[in-house]
């Protein structure tokens, strides 16, 4: 017993154990993701289709209830972005480029990321809280006892809902972000409204939009898998549910930013 105690105080051992836990965590996350894929693509051929009822409710929950906050935030991101860039571009007499700058930054970067962060905070947390309280009240076990797979039953509908709704919300965020820029551009910078829209179309390319949407789909997967993982592995009553929820939001935030950096680098070097 004494040996164990002194071992835990050894920093190298502690670091080793942390690294070990971390690799278990990664393994669990990846295996949960593959289980979802299994139920989506292989399950149906074995006569066990993914659960489809509940997807609609989940989509409403993920999507519709987030529209207002997502558009509100993106609108102001667009406004702030326009003002900040105008401040720089005015000195070069290039105020007109505000149009393209806002449109491209919002669609490629800020729209997808801000939407994902909002949804991680709202929906990711709620998913963990729901599944976590189901776990601590033996509901997950009761599913297993009835020979119903919790991943197929609870994770897959949320996965599909996020995969569809996060890009959809991102489109809304893109539009309101551009509209924010439009407000500053036309009212404050005196750019003609028609010219503003024409220039936006000119600067904006399809790839700006679809790389952004691709990012948001990846973020959706992250939010779902992290949220469900933390929920399904909740321990220790109501207090445990609170802990898991915080954990879930923090982990999602970090992974979203990390994935954003990786994807941006890939798009940048592949010149997409």
């Amino acid at each position: 017993m004494k040996d164990l105690n002194s071992m835990s105080k050894n920093p190298i051992n502690a670091a080793g154990r942390a690294a070990n836990n971390f690799s278990f965590f990664i393994w669990d996350i990846v295996s949960l993701f593959f289980q979802v894929l299994h139920w989506l693509f292989i399950g149906p051929f074995k006569g066990k289709a993914a659960k489809r009822d509940g997807i609609f409710e989940q989509m409403v929950f993920v999507g519709v209830r987030s529209i207002i906050i997502v558009s509100f935030i993106s609108l102001f991101i667009g406004i702030v972005l326009a003002m900040q860039s105008a401040y720089q571009l005015e000195q070069m007499g290039a105020v007109i480029f505000v149009t393209g700058l806002v449109a491209v930054s919002v669609t490629r970067e800020l729209g997808p990321v801000m939407t994902a962060l909002v949804v991680a905070g709202r929906v990711g947390a709620a998913i963990t809280a729901q599944l976590g309280s189901m776990k601590v009240t033996e509901q997950i076990e009761s599913l297993e006892t009835m020979a119903l797979n919790p991943v197929r039953f609870l994770v897959v509908p949320r996965f599909l809902a996020l995969l569809i709704m996060l890009p959809a919300l991102t489109v809304i965020a893109d539009l309101s972000g551009i509209f924010g820029g439009f407000i500053i551009g036309t009212l404050n910078l005196n750019i003609d409204p028609h010219l503003y829209l024409d220039l936006t179309k000119e600067f904006l390319e399809w790839k700006d939009i679809y790389t952004g949407l691709l990012k948001s789909a990846v973020f959706g997967v992250i939010i779902c898998i992290i949220g469900c993982y933390n929920g399904l592995n909740t321990k220790g009553g109501a207090e445990g549910v609170g802990k898991a929820t915080t954990e879930s939001v923090v982990t999602s935030f970090v992974l979203i930013i990390l994935a954003d950096a990786i994807l941006t680098a890939i798009f940048y070097f592949a010149k997409v």
Partner: protein
Amino acid sequence: MFKKAKVDSEPVIEVRNLVKNFGGRRVLNGVNLKIYKGEVMVIMGGSGCGKSTLLRHIIGILKPDSGQVLIEGKDINSLKARELDKIRLKIGMLFQSGGLLDYMTIKENIALPLTEHTNLDKNVIDIIVNLKLSMVNMRGMGHLLPSEISGGMKKRAGLARAIAHDPSYVFYDEPTAGLDPVVAGVIDKMILDFSKKLSVTSVVVTHEMQSVFRIASRIAMLHMGEIVEVGTPRQIKASKSKLVQQFITGSPDGPISFSQLGDDYLTELTKK
């Protein structure tokens, strides 16, 4: 009023040398138990002695560190997922907290095993659900959510779901704990009814002595992770084991000790 169930001669469930540790702490220490067809086996023991853990092993939602669980002669831990599911379809379980899915109504909860595992017509399922609801005296309450009913009703609804698919084995985790004596009596009577009318084999975990002697065909006493005595109610009542006698009478003095004096206790107290 409480007529006992008849006991058959062939064992249908067998637990062999079951050992389970949680984080270095041994909870089950070589449990051996045979359960025969048609009997009501009551497992009694103090809180936290591993009763729920033992049940979870028997239904295969926990994996033992060593030892076996045989159901109808098959080691459930060496079965493929599909075969395990087949066995689980013969099992119904009433969880300690009911285990009803909180986002479904009582009716949907009870219908779940049927809608998921049978091709029965919706109308037929409706009839079966109403039948089971009236078996547990809950007619007309199917439209409520689990959060809208009392603890005793949750247990009864959980009971209805446990028997919805006409299982051969029903497991009850503390079915009467926390209920008033009359409701507890009603539930005990239901357990006996099911075991006779539906001719199921029942395993009941409880530490309510009144319940134990009302329903048991045989009693097993679990203590410190081991089965210390098995016998009919009469044998158990006449047991010479001080442990068993103390548990039956609820006396604070005896081999089941709550004082922890000794070296361990001193080191624990002085530990920084």
